[in-house]
């Protein structure tokens, strides 16, 4: 089950905790994997750990030209692009009343606009081959909201609406577009939350623990697999019961 042999995948944000685990899970299922991120060193280290089917493609997702070029680079490196995982994301938290235009715009640009551009760049080849998997990593806060994260929540909710619209358009071509919405996952990004924020969130998790990056990677692996071909436009919430939606 979940055999990705012969499939080529691009994972953004692969230098991060969740992205790295997603890349590992796809690789372990047999896929060739292009690892993208802003920091080249951790990407190289991960590629070395994985093996010969891993490629490193550094990219700054706030640079529109670099984003547009990334799917092409992935296709050059691997021969095709069958699975796209838009995992990269940034936070620039601030109270709504204090949020600057720059804090708003930079989060929308990296989290939402780059996802749009990468999807667009990946679609051509997927349409031709009549097979494709796009998996966008959203967030529980896109559905529930979170104080201090108006920009981030907007970008993640935007991703869901965008994914559903695209899913409609390309379903007849064998391409599925889905979201995975992680809850509270132990990574460098959640370490930025203060103890009060962490405590409040922890109290609300029925599973009474944070999730792991591996648990997100497993959801992505399922949606990437041939077995999930009838699942499209969905958001798979992986949050320990924190929000049952």
């Amino acid at each position: 089950m979940f055999d990705l042999t012969g499939k080529n995948a691009l994972v953004t944000g692969a230098s991060g905790g969740i992205g790295g685990e997603i890349a590992k899970a796809l690789y372990a299922a047999g896929a060739t994997v292009a690892l993208s991120g802003t920091r080249e060193e951790p990407l190289k280290a991960l590629a070395a750990e994985l093996g010969a089917r891993a490629h490193v493609l550094p990219c700054n997702l706030s640079d529109a030209e670099a984003v547009t070029a990334l799917p092409k680079q992935a296709i050059e490196a691997m021969g095709s692009l069958d699975i796209l995982v838009n995992n990269a994301g940034i936070t620039r938290d601030n109270l709504f009343m204090r949020m600057s235009d720059d804090e708003w715009q930079s989060v929308i640009d990296v989290n939402l606009t780059s996802t749009f551009r990468l999807c667009k760049g990946a679609l051509r080849g997927m349409m031709k081959s009549r097979w494709g998997r796009i998996i966008n990593i959203s967030s529980i806060v896109g559905a529930t909201g979170n104080p201090g994260q108006g920009n981030y929540a907007a970008s993640k909710a935007g991703m869901v609406g965008m994914s559903k619209s695209l899913a409609y358009e390309v379903a007849s071509r064998g391409i599925t577009v889905n979201c995975v919405a992680p809850g509270f996952i132990a990574t460098a990004m959640t370490d930025k939350l203060n103890d009060e924020q962490k405590g409040k969130i922890n109290d609300q998790i029925p599973a009474a623990r944070m999730g792991t990056p591996e648990e997100i990677a497993a959801a992505v692996l399922y949606l990437a697999a041939p077995e999930a071909g009838y699942v499209t436009g969905a958001t798979l919430h992986v949050n320990g019961g924190m929000a049952m939606i």
Binding site: M127, E169, V170, S172
Partner: protein
């Protein structure tokens, strides 16, 4: 009929699975040949590859009929 028209017709016939004699000068991809909007995007992609040209999005929107396609590609290539 020109070589370009023949090649365009071949793509249209294959992609939309229509009879060759239906693909006339004024035949609209959507209204006459049963294409949906995504088919028209795919046709433009196929034309780009067949003829080695770039068809920008605003130009692609003006290609509604077989004749439009042949006319645009003749000018572009």
């Amino acid at each position: 009929m020109s070589d370009i028209a023949d090649r365009v017709k071949k793509i249209v016939v294959e992609h939309l699975d229509v009879e060759e004699d239906k693909v006339t000068e004024n035949a609209s991809f959507i209204d006459d040949l049963g294409a949906d909007s995504l088919d028209t995007v795919e046709l433009v992609m196929a034309f780009e590859e067949e003829f080695g040209i770039e068809i920008p999005d605003d130009a692609a929107e003006t290609i509604q009929t077989f004749g439009d396609a042949v006319g645009f590609i003749t000018k572009a290539s």
